[in-house]
Amino acid sequence: MDIQQIPLFSLLSSRMSWLSARQSVLAENVSNADTPNYIARDLKPLDFAGILRDQEFALKPRVTNVSHIALRSGFLPQEAEGEGGNPSGVVSIEQEMIKLSDTQVHYQTATNLYQKAVAMFRTALGTRSS
């Protein structure tokens, strides 16, 4: 059995890939903070209900022929909403820093949960984990 078929692991891995994609988008915003006419972007919040629904009814388009174009995996960034008195689309370094640390914390949570889940499996298997 594939470990990705266990709902917890697939949820965690999609959460982690979302967070890493967001990190890239935020890094892009920070590095373009001084670019004229640059519009700050952010990812849409991850839709857990949607992921769970997808798992229940796994009806997805597949690449069965080399000439098919695969659906772009990943998350499409869109214009960031203005927060904290900033108009939308304007890069505010402070706001980006807050988002960055938010991403960090959530990523840490996800990896810790992953470790815990693996430890639970170890316990169930009866191997003594230190």
């Binding site: 982690m16 890094a27 892009e28 373009n32 640059y38 640390s101």
Partner: protein, 136 residues
Amino acid sequence: MDFFSALQISAYGMRAQSGRMRIIAENLANADSVSPSANGEPYRRQITAMTSTFDRELNANVVELINPIPDQTQFRLQYDPGNPRADTAGYVRLPNVNALVEMMDMRDAQRSYEANIQALEGARSMLVRTIDLLRR
């Protein structure tokens, strides 16, 4: 790989900011550079700007510095009739560099550079945390 692209994006940002710093340093260093010849122009302030270009490999908008363009504002004039570089009215043309503007630009560049470092640190720690899942 997303973390590596995040690191690359931050590195592009840092490179652009340090390039900007270099231009600012050039402007400040030449704040009093008069022309070497009797009726030539003094140093002209250079202006840079950032532009974002789409990098297909990274699949992201990376930042780059555009080539510096000369500032077209008037030169400063100083009344110094004894100076061999003075014009007929007795004025010497000095560079159009304003130290205050340059200092402000420099602070801005520093702040943006630090922000890029923060973003890079963040991506790095996430990457390390992922690798740490392999431990034990």
